[in-house]
């Protein structure tokens, strides 16, 4: 087992881990960005009840919500290069980070689409009717009237998804990406001060998620008070 507990290592590792926050946040941000786009595309056939596509998006959501993200990560990491080989793309040398971002993006896309659908459904039907009544077209009504209102309801869910995504990044080490958890494990093994390393790791995650949550809460409050104009 490891060396005797020495609190000074906790602090030392904490400092050493700080620069790695950047990589973790990069994964979160890219995954959320991809997730928003994918989520929107997946939600559309459901909202507009498009026959076949609706079924496809249901299966998509069911799969990504129905399997552990770790398994999804392995599936893409090992499976995608083989798939791409079929269309003569060589992905074998791509950095693991690409696979991580892609998996996390697709994963959060499933949750985002549920969020978008629920938020849009929460907007009162009378709002759309009123928009039609003043002569707006369907897309106009959607973009100008429905979306801004849906945004306010979606925001708390969106915050939760960001925090969940941050915590999920801790699994990226399993395909060799040196984000916070990967880095901490390396430090731990090298020095044999395992527990100290993992305490600083937990502390860093806690601080990052705490700060993110506070910022998102502020944003929610602003949007609730003054609407989208405050952005």
């Amino acid at each position: 087992m490891g060396a005797t507990f020495d609190f000074s290592f906790v602090f030392q590792y904490f400092i050493k881990l700080l620069p790695t926050i950047q990589l973790t946040l990069l994964i979160v941000a890219s995954a959320i960005a991809i997730g928003l786009v994918v989520g929107f595309l997946v939600a559309l056939p459901q909202m507009y009840n498009i026959p076949v596509l609706r079924r496809v998006s249901q299966v998509y959501i069911s799969f990504f919500r129905g399997t552990p993200i770790l398994i999804q990560l392995f599936l893409f990491y090992y499976g995608l290069p083989e798939m791409l080989k079929l269309i003569a793309v060589d992905a074998a040398r791509w950095p693991a980070l690409y696979f991580v971002i892609l998996t996390y993006g697709l994963h959060s896309g499933a949750f985002m689409s549920e969020m978008i659908r629920a938020a849009v459904a929460s907007v009162d039907r009378g709002q759309v009717e009123a928009a039609y009544a003043v002569g707006m077209t369907g897309p106009q009504a959607f973009v100008r009237i429905v979306l801004p209102q849906a945004f306010a309801t979606a925001l708390p869910v969106f915050s939760n998804l960001i925090i969940a995504s941050l915590k999920d990044t801790s699994l990226a080490f399993s395909v060799g990406v040196m984000e916070l958890t990967g880095k901490a494990s390396t430090l731990a093994v090298v020095s044999r001060h395992l527990i100290e390393a993992y305490i600083s790791l937990a502390a860093i995650y806690f601080i990052v998620s705490f700060v993110l949550e506070r910022l998102l809460r502020l944003l929610e409050q602003r949007v609730q008070k003054r609407g989208l104009a405050s952005l």
């Binding site: 087992m1 129905g66 552990p68 915590k167 958890t181």
Partner: protein, 236 residues
């Protein structure tokens, strides 16, 4: 290397052995989680001094950190504490004799407890205050009112959240491979590396998790129908 469809089936069959381990981790962590969570939620609801603050801190910490950090801290921290304690007290006990799966049970229960406390709390909030008053007015004691009136309604209101938590812990159990517990994910890794067929093995694992998840969703829909029979009417 091409996709070997028949190997997906082979892997699938091999992975079936690991399902009980996954289910055991899920069941133990959710059950213990609910015991912890109910205690924490009640302590916070009734503002029990010290316990309610400690509960709040516990929930905030667990929810603010990834599940894998809980597992790593327990896995590496517990033996250290236990051995130190055993040595100080002169017991012959050594942490090496603890089976790996115990660390998974312990750590995941602690994780689940924090999430369960939020589930219980929102369930309690969903019960109208008038229900408690009515219970008191017919002469029930506090514990009677809680057990017979509030908790059953809170439970029915929480069913969707409970199902989500079950699914969350089922998926979370895939982390147990980091402490060498052979559940579905770890088994998939073994099958994958021994046959050098990663994609097929993980595809089989994904199918199993997917099936289990759909099973939980179906069961919870059934339970909801059964336990929420009382709200079927539209008149109020």
């Amino acid at each position: 290397m091409k996709l070997d469809v028949s190997f997906i089936w082979t892997a699938f069959v091999e992975l079936l052995d690991a399902i009980p381990v996954t289910l055991a981790i899920t069941a133990v962590s959710v059950l213990c989680g609910f015991l912890i969570g109910t205690a924490v939620a009640l302590a916070r609801q009734f503002r029990v001094p010290v316990l309610s603050q400690a509960g709040a801190a516990y929930v905030t910490f667990i929810r603010g950190t990834p599940m894998i950090t809980h597992l790593l801290l327990i896995y590496f921290g517990m033996p250290m504490l236990l051995d130190a304690a055993a040595e100080a007290l002169g017991f012959g006990f050594r942490s090496a004799s603890i089976p790996m799966i115990v660390f998974a049970f312990l750590s995941f229960s602690i994780t689940a407890g924090a999430y369960a406390s939020e589930v219980v709390r929102s369930g309690l909030l969903a019960v109208d205050r008038g229900q408690l008053e009515a219970a008191y007015s017919i002469g029930m004691t506090g514990p009677q009112a809680l057990l017979r009136i509030v908790l059953p309604q809170a439970f029915a209101a929480s069913l969707p959240n409970i199902s989500n938590m079950l699914i969350g812990m089922l998926h979370g159990s895939s982390l147990a491979f980091t402490v060498s517990v052979v559940e579905i994910n770890a088994k998939a890794q073994i099958v994958a590396t021994t046959n050098w067929k990663f994609f097929e093995a993980y595809l089989a694992a994904a199918l199993i998790y997917w099936g289990l998840t759909i099973g939980i969703e179906r069961l919870s829909a059934l339970a909801e129908k059964r336990f929420k029979a009382y709200s079927r009417g539209g008149v109020s």
